[in-house]
């Protein structure tokens, strides 16, 4: 999934560099990538979502 996320990021970077008029779509890719990154982190921490320390 990390591989897929980097492909999305590359796609967004290519759009703003070579197709700057497609800013909205590139930004949508950025948002999707952020959500995927957060989801993967939450998968990695799903047995304890907040730090394992005294709060």
């Amino acid at each position: 999934m990390e591989f897929l996320n980097f492909l999305l990021i590359l796609w967004a970077a290519w759009l703003i560099w070579r197709r700057p008029e497609r800013e909205r779509f590139a930004f949508a890719l950025l948002v999707v990538s952020c959500l995927l990154m957060a989801l993967l982190f939450l998968v990695g921490t799903h047995t304890s979502l907040v730090p394992r320390v005294n709060l």
Partner: protein
């Protein structure tokens, strides 16, 4: 600062961010075989996304949604780094996860980088001149174009590393990755059950605090894990004479003076005379300043010093002192009879009992050590006896007591950890424990670390403390009533083992 100037600065920031932490991570993988775990990947991706937002600003100017996105990424990155670091920061000196770089592990570097991103964004916004927003894309300029090229190259390298170490979708990063290799025979994609385990907010740290006066336990002796126990019937009953400010939570007796020590649910400590009819000293601790005290649950005499223990293993040492300075003690006590000095307030640190609360405190005069016994929770079922050296109040030893062959569990799925020890006392090298669950007295040989005897004590309710007086054990209840039972002399003049003496 103009928007053109901002874009030029951002281009350099994107170059540094892309080249050093993100590009450096790929270099660590290829050259040193370092592979990120699933949490590392998320943190690295967050840095890449921050760089991508920088490219947006270089191309389109500082639009509000870009600024909002980078602030969100910075804040989320700080959280991710702290969450990741929390797995390792409290370990022993020099211990961490994977290799450190410049003395710091990568998850800690990620915290610093995300924190710096937030700081830099703040500084740049402070310096940005207010001018009309420019429409349409801008030429990124020479430095900006270099930033674009570098970004694409480094992200492509990351994508390659991600494919090798985590695989194509639906595979994802691993909790414990293996070292990087270009040889496909060594590629490992999700060999562990990353998705196993139930979703939890706090995981192993979900541990409800026990309330010493309202334990949710079964007091019925017949339901206990040990089979065929003899009974210690109450020989007589007494009561603490003076009115207290709350229910009793801890209880002890000084063998030399005969005085009693009691603690209450409202952070009070009372010293009573030997007949329990008169209060000789009293303080109400200020439990919030500065080491926090959860409810007091244990008490013992250390010679002329009084030791009090909270359920979170914080402790307080007091001493009756007719020359106590009331102004000096104001910081420690919310109420006092004026003749007590606080000597020390600190915390016990344990290893095996680290995620367990305690409800008892005892003192072993022969070893000059204090003793706590953990109480189980739904998350952690262990009965751990922890011993602390009186001289430095530091952990001396810990053990999980074994069961004497003369005792037996009702079935294989039963355990000593079902007992909830609420009171304890040491006598003649034996540790006597009273359990609120199943109203049972356990006797542990401190030398052999073995439960050598156990007895049920029918008729008691909410025991909170245990003391020895002559040939009797005194079981103190939360309501201030005291049950006296025969002190079983295991291995001595009385019979050894669960024979009821």
């Amino acid at each position: 600062m103009s928007q053109d100037r901002l874009r030029a600065i951002l281009a350099w920031i994107v170059i540094v961010l892309t080249a050093v932490p993100v590009g450096g991570a790929v270099w660590l993988g290829v050259v040193h075989g370092e592979s990120p775990c699933i949490l590392c990947w998320a943190q690295r991706t967050s840095m890449v996304l921050i760089g991508l937002v920088g490219l947006f600003v270089i191309r389109y100017g500082p639009r509000p949604r870009y600024i909002g996105m980078v602030v969100l990424l910075g804040a989320w990155g700080v959280f991710m780094s702290l969450r990741h670091s929390s797995l390792h920061l409290a370990r022993d000196v020099g211990q961490g996860y994977a290799a450190p770089y410049f003395g710091v592990h990568t998850y800690a570097w990620a915290w610093l980088i995300h924190w710096l991103v937030l700081g830099v964004v703040g500084v740049l916004l402070l310096m940005l001149r207010e001018e009309p927003a420019e429409e349409g894309p801008h030429d990124p300029g020479r430095v900006g174009r270099f930033a674009f090229v570098l970004f694409v190259a480094v992200v492509a390298a990351n994508a390659s590393q991600a494919f090798i170490t985590t695989g194509p979708p639906p595979f994802m990063g691993q909790a414990d990755p293996v070292r990087f290799s270009l040889n496909p025979r060594h590629w490992v994609w999700m060999n562990r059950d990353e998705l196993a385990g139930r979703v939890s907010l706090r995981g192993s740290w979900t541990i409800p605090r026990p309330d010493p006066v309202a334990l949710d336990v079964d007091p019925e002796p017949a339901g206990g894990p040990l089979a065929d126990l003899p009974t210690l019937p109450a020989q007589d009953w007494g009561r603490i004479g003076p009115a207290l400010d709350g229910q009793l939570t801890g209880f002890a007796r000084d063998t030399k003076t005969g005085q009693f020590l009691g603690t209450t649910e409202h952070f009070s400590a009372y010293v009573f005379d030997s007949s329990l009819t008169r209060i000789e000293h009293h303080v109400e601790l200020d439990h919030q300043y500065s080491i926090d005290l959860t409810p007091l649950a244990g008490a013992t005499f250390l010679g002329d010093t009084l030791a009090l223990l909270a359920t979170n293993k914080s402790y307080v040492l007091l001493r009756p002192d007719t020359s106590a300075d009331p102004d000096r003690e104001w910081r420690h006590f919310r109420a006092t009879t004026g003749d007590v000095t606080e000597l020390r307030r600190s915390r016990f640190a344990t290893v095996r009992a680290r995620l367990l609360y305690v409800l008892s405190l005892a003192y072993d005069p022969e070893a000059d050590e204090l003793i706590t016994v953990s109480v189980p929770s739904a998350r952690h079922r262990r009965l751990v006896v922890s011993r602390f050296t009186r001289a430095d109040m530091t952990l001396a030893s810990e053990f999980l007591p074994r069961l004497d062959p003369g005792l037996s569990l009702r079935s294989d799925d039963r355990s000593l950890a079902e007992y909830v020890v609420t009171g304890s006392v040491v006598r003649n090298g034996l540790l006597y424990l009273i359990s609120g669950a199943f109203s049972t007295v356990l006797v542990i040989d401190l030398t052999e670390k073995v439960v050598v005897a156990a007895y049920t004590v029918p008729g008691i309710e909410q025991p909170v403390g245990l003391a020895a007086r002559g040939s009797q054990l005194l079981v103190a209840q939360a309501d201030g009533r005291i049950a006296a039972v025969e002190l079983p002399l295991v291995g001595g003049s009385s019979a050894r083992g669960p024979v009821g003496s």
